[in-house]
Point group: C2
DNA sequence: GCCTCTCCTATCGCTTATCGATATGAGAGT
DNA sequence: ACTCTCATATCGATAAGCGATAGGAGAGGC
C-alpha cells in the first residue's frame, strides 16, 4: 500500500503550518505533518530537506543548530515574518482552489 | 518565483470531470473547465493538449475527428470506461487530501 | 478573389517540485 | 565493539505545467 503522494504545492503550505505551531527540526516537521494530517501525508527526507532549504532561501524560515530531545545534533527551523505572511497567502489560495474544485465536482 | 495557476494533479481531474458531462473537443474542454470552476481555472493550450494526449495514451479518453459548432475541424474526446473509473478514483483521492489539509489548517 | 479574424490543434523549451536511493555522522543501547 | 536509530544532506530521474510559437482552415467583410 503506497502512501498517498503529495499534491505539488501543498508541501510548502504544510511545512509553514507545522512551523507556525512552534520551532522544529527537520524530522520533527515531518512528524508534525503526519500528526496534523492524521497520517494522510508522509514526507520523506528527499522531499523534506530540499523544501526546507528552498524555503529558508526564500526568507520564510530561519534556522539554527541545536540539540534534539534525543541529544542529537539537529537544525531547528522557525517561521520568519515573511514566512507568516506566506502562510496566510498560501492558506487563502488553497481555500479558493479547494472550493473551486469541490464546486466543479459537485456539479 | 512564479505561482503556478494549477495545483499539479488537479488538471487531470478537471478534464475527466468536464468530459463526464459529455464529449467535447479540446478548446471546449478548456471552456467547460472555466465554467464549472467559476473562472477560477484558466487552462492554456500549452497545458491542455499535452494533458489530453497523455490521458488518451493512458486509455482514459478516446478521440475522433469531427466538426465543431463553428464548422471547424476539431478532435472530440470522450471518456472511456477506464476513464470513468479514473475519475471516481481521483475524485475520492481529492476529497481525502482536501479534508486532510483543511483539517491541518484548522488545527 | 483577397485579406484578416477567429477557431482549433500542436509542439518546443524551460522551469520547478517531488521522490527514491544513497551517503554520512554521531549518540544510544546491548 | 557492534548495531540501531536519529538526523541532515544530496544526486539523478521523472514529470507536470506554462509561455511562446506555429500553422491550417473556415468565416465574414470588402
Amino acid at each position: 500500500m503506497k502512501k498517498t503522494n503529495l499534491l505539488q504545492g501543498t508541501l510548502d503550505l504544510l511545512i509553514l503550518k507545522a512551523l507556525s505551531m512552534g520551532p522544529l527540526h527537520g524530522l520533527g516537521v515531518s512528524l508534525r505533518i503526519r500528526q496534523i494530517t492524521n497520517g494522510a501525508f508522509e514526507v520523506g527526507p528527499g522531499s523534506l530537506f530540499p523544501a526546507l532549504h528552498r524555503m529558508e532561501e526564500a526568507g520564510w524560515l530561519s534556522s539554527e543548530w541545536g540539540e534534539s530531545e534525543n541529544n542529537r545534533r539537529a537544525k531547528f527551523y522557525q517561521l520568519t515574518k515573511p514566512g507568516r505572511r506566506q502562510l496566510e497567502t498560501e492558506a487563502k489560495h488553497w481555500t479558493l482552489i479547494s472550493l473551486a474544485i469541490a464546486g466543479a465536482l459537485k456539479a
